[in-house]
Symmetry: C2
Subunit: 159 residues, 2 copies
């Protein structure tokens, strides 16, 4: 099963290495990981997406909770949550195809970030499946380069 | 100096742990790190933002290049590049303040993702300083929760 795990940690050297080695020790691949600052510069928040046996993920979460630098661990897969992802794509765009590509970007409410002689750089944020559909459409034109943040996630607000 | 490093790696367990430990071994804090999939599911791309002495960063980059799982390392700080970041913010929004907050979100071309009784969840992508300005404005209403992807980056297209 796919798991989206949110981990709040102290922003110190070594914390990321420690956490990622907990997954590696079990041979677990991390599909995506995003670490960014929070309101408090001393605290970082990680969103980890992984796939695997529920029991083993449960063990990893228990170990994460035991780390001194860990403040909070949440398996969002068990609750109703919001998930967003950001992608930058450099796509092949010869003059005759440029209009078509711009149309696709507009339909998805993406943004054109850079225009070159033969290519465009486009930006899109949204839910994973929307981002996937966008990538699939651009693939037919030829993707030259792509960078994706991986998911960030949050419990839905109303409690 | 601030460095934005893009690393393309094989998508295998342990690669992230290995790379993050190279930074930790020198006591270097990672400001943000985003790892996501690329066009090829066997390959991941990491964007690492760190601050520090140029010579030491240069040493870390050399070591990154020596790792078997590393395919490509690029210090984008030395070229003209595009950088984007995504944030999800749950902000305090009592009925009397909701209109004001929605106006701010519209000015920044952000999106309202979720509406609760007393709060809103908003999404914004853009350059780091734009995201910072947005966070600063929302801080006055009270930020309840925040998740940020960290930067992804790409060399500007026209060569």
């Amino acid at each position: 099963m796919r798991h989206v795990i949110s981990v709040t940690v102290e922003n110190k050297p070594g914390v990321l290495a420690h956490i990622s080695s907990l997954f590696a020790a079990r041979g677990y691949s991390i599909d995506s990981l995003a670490v960014g600052e929070t309101e408090d510069p001393a605290i970082s928040r990680m969103t980890i997406v992984t796939r695997g046996d529920d029991q083993i993920i449960e063990q990893i979460i228990k170990q994460l909770r035991k780390l001194i630098s860990t403040l909070k661990v949440n398996d969002l897969s068990k609750v109703d949550f919001i998930e967003r992802d950001l992608v930058l794509i450099q796509v092949n765009a010869p003059p005759g195809k440029r209009g078509e590509i711009i149309e696709i970007v507009n339909v998805f409410r993406g943004k054109i970030v850079d225009v070159g002689q033969k290519n465009l750089v486009v930006e899109l944020s949204g839910q994973g499946n929307k981002v996937e559909a966008f990538i699939d459409l651009l693939r037919t034109y030829g993707i030259k380069e792509m960078a994706r943040t991986g998911s960030i996630a949050m419990t839905r607000g109303a409690k």
